[in-house]
Symmetry: C2
Subunit: 392 residues, 2 copies
């Protein structure tokens, strides 16, 4: 935390239109990487009433059935009929994907694999703090858990009138010591079927979604609840709101608590530093906090297109460091190799691991916890030892 | 500045694909607001090889020729032939715009105009620092000036071989006192015609773009220059890279120096707090710094959909405040009314002022400096007096 006495973060469910787009982009990336780990993929999606448009630049030797992938992602989320607002079986799928510019490619594929240039310029941040056990800021962590819970009780039939689209928001109050003290406000809007009465919906959301997720000691008489404040949310998904890949980048990362370089993640293979270097940044920051070198840490890296070495690496420990600042920077430079080639190697990124990242956050997730045993490698605190060693 | 000893920000020119999309979305917004200030507009654009797709939700009584607007924006930028990569006259224009959901609308249009609810939930930040005379961070300020200069020398014929697409990046070195000390690295990639040799291009970019813009005292023998590092950038615009509205939100705001709530600006009418409350946040932060209450200030506000009052207002002055923190917050609450209705009224936002905001940054621009006399009202330091008065 910083000086803020209140801090608000939001999240959205897997049925939010921007997240549909992110999941389609990452499902396409996964399908291609599974067959062709050397593919170059930058896949952008737009979803609107009755249509999913896939675009971007892809160069690959793989043959994948893009239409089927798009339809199955939409159906898997729960958009299976015009009644809920979108139907994976019958919507239109339009493909305007092109190839990667050979001029960009010549900047990325250098003489040796090790010298692989960054796929674009840009700046990326990584962040960690000891505020939660997953070393993530508390507001985004609880915002995610609320919409994850919405999805769970929708899918397991506890609240069968729920529909896929939902948003959450948590305002946390911090004490003078920078520790979370309580929850000031909770916002939850969820799509629902027309049969449920607003009063019943609000009660059920409190009982089945909010209470099971938020720590009881943080809720008080002063906590304000805003549950479906518009009063009605039957129309959802792409009918109510056009969805685009890369439009939930703060939900995807630290909920606004950390800075952001602006680059999106979904649909991008790891030659794009927007994704791989942001993952590496989280890995570095988490290991610094796990090693006890600071209780809060943010790292910035930047790249020039076609260059392997970062143009800058810089650190902010918010006066929480236990070791002088420049010694931590030196240890980071010794322990972590932040060239694109090395990040891809060390985090083992050339696998179809991306679709699960596209909802409920790319960071603070349990490594190896999902079906996909290679996912979230950037959450491993496997360099804390080496960092400490580098400092002695 | 914070503890960072190096800080990197980037910008892109008006010819970058994401910025083409932003400008189309805002040109459509302007055309509608000019006829119907009560319209609800959320316009999203995708550009890819030979096509511009406009989407989103619009409810209005205005009749506007959307196809012509799209074509003229593309042509105005300089994409007037397939040779440069995109041709406003002959590209395809596809319109899949829908209406605003009546269920969202019922949350926004409340009983009285004053009670107008926020058009969505969300969190927004505003920021200012005394690092530059426009009270903006230096890295983003100079990154913008580089690409603005690229556009100028392209348009005035100084470097006739320039084409519209370009990106810049500046790594600034900060001293222990938090003041900019020098430039560590500059990245500039610009699209060009095939006739110019790389060596000549690099020389001309240094002489005509970089030197006229960057302060000489910040450049040294140690400054690294990366000019068209891929070696070739003839293919540009939507052929090389799919463009989407809202995908340059860090370029649009503070270059990463401030936090970001994640909401995009372009294409959104000011009933959407993603835009209006972020503008108000800049206005508040700038007035706090202009009033001398802090040399650096970041404000966070958040909203619930359909609610007029923010769910939270919180401030961070990074230990630079000259008055106790909670007294500044109290003064902000006294001087600024952050309900959507009041922001729209006080910043006079219901005018066609948005297209110029869609390139080279929404903040740090001279108010009233452009042809459009109402633009950038959020840059006025017109509340500094009132803030000081509220504190005595
Ligand atoms: C409010 S909409 C965005 C605004 C929209 N583009 C417009 O035209 O006003 C953003 C998100 O809010 C949620 N939403 C949609 N309809 C809603 C409703 N009736 N009440 C509350 N939230 C809603 C969905 O998750 C949607 O993606
Ligand atoms: C590198 S591209 C993004 C990556 C792309 N989606 C891909 O498939 O690799 C991002 C931006 O870089 C710029 N760009 C395009 N071609 C370039 C080139 N040959 N050299 C340097 N920059 C280029 C354009 O401004 C473009 O929008």
């Amino acid at each position: 935390m910083s000086e803020y006495s209140l801090f608000t973060s939001e999240s959205v469910s897997e049925g939010h239109p921007d997240k549909i787009a992110d999941q389609i982009s990452d499902a396409i990336l996964d399908a291609i990487l599974a067959e062709d780990p050397r593919a170059r993929v930058a896949c952008e999606t737009m979803v609107k009433t009755g249509v999913a448009i896939i675009s971007g630049e892809i160069s690959t030797t793989a043959w994948v059935d893009l239409e089927s992938i798009v339809r199955s992602v939409i159906n898997d989320i729960g958009y299976t009929s015009s009644e809920v607002g979108f139907d994976g079986a019958t919507c239109s799928v339009i493909n305007i994907i092109g190839k990667q510019s050979p001029e960009i490619n010549q900047g990325v594929d250098r003489d040796t694999l090790e010298n692989q240039g960054a796929g674009d310029q840009g700046l990326m941040f990584g962040y960690a703090s000891d505020e939660t056990d997953v070393l993530m800021p508390a507001p985004i962590t609880y915002a995610h858990r609320l919409v994850e819970r919405q999805s769970k009780v929708r899918r397991d039939g506890t609240l069968p009138w729920l529909r896929p689209d939902a948003k959450s928001q948590v305002t946390l109050r911090y004490g003078a010591d920078g520790r979370p003290e309580g929850i000031d406000a909770v916002v939850l809007s969820t799509q629902h079927n027309p049969e449920i009465a607003l009063k019943d919906l609000r009660e059920a959301v409190i009982e089945e979604i909010i209470r099971p997720v938020l720590p009881a000691e943080w809720l008080s008489a002063g906590t304000k609840y805003f549950i479906n404040p518009t009063g009605k949310f039957v129309i959802g998904g792409p009918v109510g709101d056009c969805g685009l890949t890369g439009r939930k980048i703060i939900v995807d990362s630290y909920g606004g608590m950390a800075r952001h370089g602006g680059g999106a993640f979904s649909g991008k293979d790891p030659s794009k530093v927007d994704r791989s270097a942001a993952y590496a940044g989280r890995w570095v920051a988490k290991n610094i906090v796990a090693a006890g070198l600071a209780s809060r840490c943010e790292i910035q890296v930047s790249y020039a297109i076609g260059e392997a070495q970062p143009t800058s690496i810089s650190l902010n420990t918010f006066d929480t460091e236990t070791v002088p600042h420049d010694r931590i920077v030196a240890a980071v430079r010794e322990v972590f190799d932040l060239r694109p080639f090395a990040i891809i190697r060390d985090l083992d990124l050339l696998h179809p691991i991306y679709r699960p990242t596209a909802s409920y956050g790319h960071f603070g997730r349990e490594p190896y916890a999902l079906a996909n045993a290679l996912a979230f490698s950037w959450e491993q605190a496997n360099k804390a030892e080496a960092l400490r060693a580098a400092l002695t």
